[in-house]
Symmetry: C2
Subunit: 366 residues, 2 copies
Amino acid sequence: MPNADVLKDIETPAVVIDLDVVDANIQRMQAAIGSRGVGLRPHVKSHKSVNLARRQLEAGAVGITVSSVGEAEVFAEAGVDDIFLAYTIWAGSARRAERILNLHERVRSFSVGVDSAAGAEQLAAATRPSQHALRVLVEIDSGAHRTGVRPEDAGALAAECLRLGLDVAGIFTYAGHAGRSREARVSGAADEIDAAERAIASLTAKGIPVGTVSAGSTPTALFSARAPVTESRPGEYIFNDADNVRLGTCESLADVGLHVATTVVSTAVEGQVIIDAGTKTLGREGNVDKGFGLVPSLPGSSLRLLNEHHGYLSIPDGVKRPAVGDVLTVVPNHACPVANLFDEYIVIADGAPVARWPVDARGHLS
Amino acid sequence: MPNADVLKDIETPAVVIDLDVVDANIQRMQAAIGSRGVGLRPHVKSHKSVNLARRQLEAGAVGITVSSVGEAEVFAEAGVDDIFLAYTIWAGSARRAERILNLHERVRSFSVGVDSAAGAEQLAAATRPSQHALRVLVEIDSGAHRTGVRPEDAGALAAECLRLGLDVAGIFTYAGHAGRSREARVSGAADEIDAAERAIASLTAKGIPVGTVSAGSTPTALFSARAPVTESRPGEYIFNDADNVRLGTCESLADVGLHVATTVVSTAVEGQVIIDAGTKTLGREGNVDKGFGLVPSLPGSSLRLLNEHHGYLSIPDGVKRPAVGDVLTVVPNHACPVANLFDEYIVIADGAPVARWPVDARGHLS
């Protein structure tokens, strides 16, 4: 947690990352996934930072995962040469098709998700001018019921992709349905493995080899990083957040590498202070029960309500209320939306500010 | 509502504004507030667009309201010369003090909110190098229990501001506690009026004249635009959104001027489609009951769940499911966070795209 003295000259609200914690998080996940013989392909939607992606790659990541064409472009421009766009992108518009073709030609290894013949057809049409086939991964549904074909239908879609002239590189899945407890996450990871095995059988029955089997998000990564899975795509682990602490996907608040620095702007109402972090800083991630973020320096406090530019922080009896002008540190419930709301990170190392890094791919949704 | 044909070449997700509806919304609020002899000072946090602020000023707005120093700077740079920063800004850091002094020197009429002697002292210190006094408005609490002193304490704080060398321009309040029904909004507006009258009495007892009495947000503006109120600060009315339709603060969906264009990216799971608008497009504004936005072209559909880049849209039996690649139009529950997530608006007039306008003050939180 950044020291209050370090933050006193920072204009708030601001996002502060502690590089010592971030590097430890990078190393820990890399060691855990790597030691199982699985490639770590971090999802950079969590941080959208070229500098942070470079640290992940230097630590041993096999490439990166992105969620939009715009994100892929930012990281390609920065020289990242192995990018998986884990999204069932629709390439229908002329401009979108052109951008996908450009990424395909430019990035050494570029692959895209598909879960429909119609989507595959657009991707094939977009990349037809190229000398080589676009690599696609067939998305399968392991229980989230979001995107992805049923595992037993994966072979048919893969065959259709081949017929369209695409290169089928493998399969991927996301256990978004995994519950919050450790048991539920173990169960979600088992669903990923089970779905992957059924999908592999479906492709094999069509005579289609499966190179890449991609599964795993921060909640399930440690449990699904085993055969037949070859790659894992966690994202949040680089920062962790209050929800990760609650989930047990990190040990404690000491593993959280991203904080919001905020200033007390009003103490006019008894029993609370108002801070300058609202939904435009923290997103509306939370609820009345768990609050909208944690303020560890004020035990028992509750960030009970957010407006766009105001946070209502209840202070329990017996805890000294901060004064107007005091800078506080908030642990967000969910780090990813916070990073996406800011143009830069304030970077701290060895307890002191050392840099400001751009959130290079902030926005870039399409 | 933008026509589907108009949107088919747009890369999604994208924010589309219909200038005909927006202009009608601007004119309607201007006429309603202006006809009561009250000045309209729109809150530009809702749109963060210089072009849209200019349209509001050309229609008769007396100035604009902003929520951060950064927003004030963007609009000052664009030449807006009457800006009220309706926020209890803390000017403690050296850089923040310098920025406030710069706005004070540069903007013809610049005023700032205060609700504490400590905050007032920092503002006075920041602007002491200037030849003229900074204008402040004392914030009073009309029932939201967020920021603002009790109305009967307003005179004492105003006296303290004068002692510090500030210019007390008046008072302001925000009825954030007003409930959803028309009666509750009328009641919230009555609280604004009542609090304003008590605060005026408190200042008058100290011999301090009250020039500006500012109250009113989109839900309460029409009910509190009467003496002693001199200025009203609604923001959302320029766009309206699904919550405004539910509240009755606009007539119908035809009054909504901001939409999200989104593409169906998966139909793999029966009974639903997945769209490319998630929390990074719509914010997490909503709940399971009302959903996270409306898709009027699909009656009975429910945008029941959002991930960061995916929206789960349930399609009722009997309604034809859209196909992968179809572009849909979502009415957000809350327009303000949506505008803040995008770098540009796609502007439609007479049913056709005419421009792309930057969301000039996107971010700019500090």
